[in-house]
Symmetry: none
Subunit: 201 residues, 4 copies
DNA sequence: ATTTAAGCGAGACGGTACGTCTGGTCTTTAT
DNA sequence: ATAAAGACCAGACGTACCGTCTCGCTTAAAT
């Protein structure tokens, strides 16, 4: 799928057209910016890219994976990890910017990927590995620093910490049963850090 | 769509066939027990129910809403709300049983509904109102009791509390990036109640 | 089919509604005046007549027969048979007026009946007996007078004579491969009377 | 539709599958041999041909035109034009063989085409041009020779002559109000040549 | 006056063909 | 060998019409 190393650059016949790959991803990206994933057809991508459908299927097993490549794994990773000296503040800021991202067009696409993934385990795994994993690895840094600084008690798995903070956001995002703004973001981080219990803090 | 009040049970023409409706929902249910939502076709439902496709489209705008009715709003509400005297324990138990439910066949279907909802806002709203809302209303009881007993500090919105507890579960369920078992359930509730901070407890 | 003798006009239950029958035929007639037979649906007739579809099917076996009744058997018979003293002139005039009729809206309907009849022998027979038979019986008068007067040689079957005169018209009407006007009508009758042969006339 | 000139047989992509087209026409032909046109469905043709319905609709706008192609324009033209030296005899023989043809299975189909044509002017024109025109052109030869030989008086349009001979046949064929056999055929040609008038012949 | 046998409007129903659409594969010719 | 063009298969989609049916009401003859 696209990421072929091609170290021996001289094969027998016509070389793979880098132009074609680029055109496909560009076309897919442009279409996905306007339409939801399920309304973007392979034919439309091929036509807009000036490329044969067969060429698409030659390099990608299906439309969803084209979309995955089109979005670019970079997109989430680009959210830089802050370091204010407070894990709580860092997480709050990350949560806010993540919410903002998921409300943008490319963010909406990620939700659609998640939806598609419910019917395609393989695709879900790819989505997870390409988009979420790197992002979560970055976010773990905040957690690690928090533990080192003594802000966060050890004994709680970092992965779980991330889910506690970003899970509620994702839930609201997907179900849409409640608001999702900076106030909510702050409230989420507050509870996760301070707990629900009454207590001396 | 099924929920026709019909308090005046005497309309002029032929009555809507209860048998047909039941057969449709039964057929849909049986198919959905074996196949994922996206592989269940309207034709298959009609054929299995011994019913005309036109009859289905007369009463439901599309397949997804048939499935919604087929599952039955009851399914989630059936999880009884415990009352152990401890909100923390009640939530932990609920979280565990909810996880178990979502791992069952009907639970998987709910995830597919959520997926479909990402491309159909109207359907998402229906799903929310019919399945999640009643369940969440029940769960709020646990929260309310917790506040009254002094276990949970006031000032945190009940809805948010539910998302803090069930959001992480949903996230793992949909993304599948980590395990989801009783241990995780307990850990989630622990953190939400005690917080991540080091503190005197 | 409508023409029930009903000599014992006292049956047990509610009497057949003359109003309903009239409304059905009127509605069908109005629709057939605007639309081709194949685009007039039973539902449309029922709705326009303010009548239940079941009432239609109670008295007519299908839509085509309703149309047959709606048109009224009278329509063709209304073309009066002239008596100029010359069978040739009488036939010529009849041919012209028949052509004119078949170009009118009700005439077009007759062609559609003929078309339907190609797939429904029973319907064809009814159409023949109700519309064509009486008309042809009238036209035979012209032939008979011609024979009596000595204009037409005996030994040619009267039915065949009618076909020789009206067959070519019908053919052009249905196939549309050539014009059909008064000139053609005259030419047809001329040849049928004088023959193609060169001869002393 | 089928008659694509394709003199430059080199287009870029995959060529239209001759096998598919042949299979479709073969399947349609076989079905039409057993069933009336109106009972042959597009799905049945597709299935029997082992072809996708989309392929059919790609090349033909509807079922009727498939049937038109399936029958093959050749069918009527295959009736060879005799040359006995007598136009009257030639016409009589042609009329007899045409009657025989229209009583055969493919002939019945032609009548159904004519019926369909009453509701579809475009289809009627195609039917006329593909089936009737060539046949009539051939038959005109008989007329022309008759005129040249002095058997047939000039001044009567050849097209009209054909209608005078074949119109009565068609009329009886479609309406079915009288017999249609060799005796009738002979009688028709007799009258058309000799005329109805008493006269010295 | 009561029964009883229709007739009737409303409209739901099973059946089935239609023509459209999309996903993904395959073939042909050109590079 | 790969690409572009585009034909192909499979099969689901939602719509439409047909003719049947069921329901509750109305009418009028028979009791």
């Amino acid at each position: 799928m696209s990421k072929i190393a091609t170290p021996p650059p001289k094969r027998r016949g016509r070389q793979r057209s880098a132009a074609a790959e680029a055109a496909i991803l560009k076309a897919a990206g442009e279409l996905l910016a306007r339409l939801p994933l399920c309304e973007v057809t392979t034919d439309a991508i091929a036509q807009r890219a000036g490329v044969s459908k067969a060429t698409i299927y030659k390099w990608w097993p299906n439309k969803n994976l084209v979309a995955l490549d089109a979005l670019g794994a970079s997109v989430l990773a680009q959210l830089a990890i802050p370091n204010t000296g407070s894990a709580r503040q860092d997480f709050a800021e990350q949560l806010r910017s993540t919410i903002a991202f998921y409300s943008s067009q490319p963010g909406r696409l990620l939700r659609q990927f998640l939806a598609e993934g419910q019917n395609d385990a393989e695709f879900l795994k790819l989505f997870r590995d390409r988009f979420l994993k790197p992002r979560r690895d970055s976010l773990l840094t905040i957690w690690r620093r928090g533990v080192e600084r003594g802000e966060i008690r050890p004994g709680v798995d970092g992965e779980l910490v991330l889910d506690l903070i970003f899970g509620p956001m994702m839930y609201r995002l997907l179900v849409g049963h409640g608001p999702l703004d900076d106030i909510q973001a702050t409230a989420i981080v507050d509870v996760v850090f301070s707990g629900l219990q009454k207590g001396p803090h």
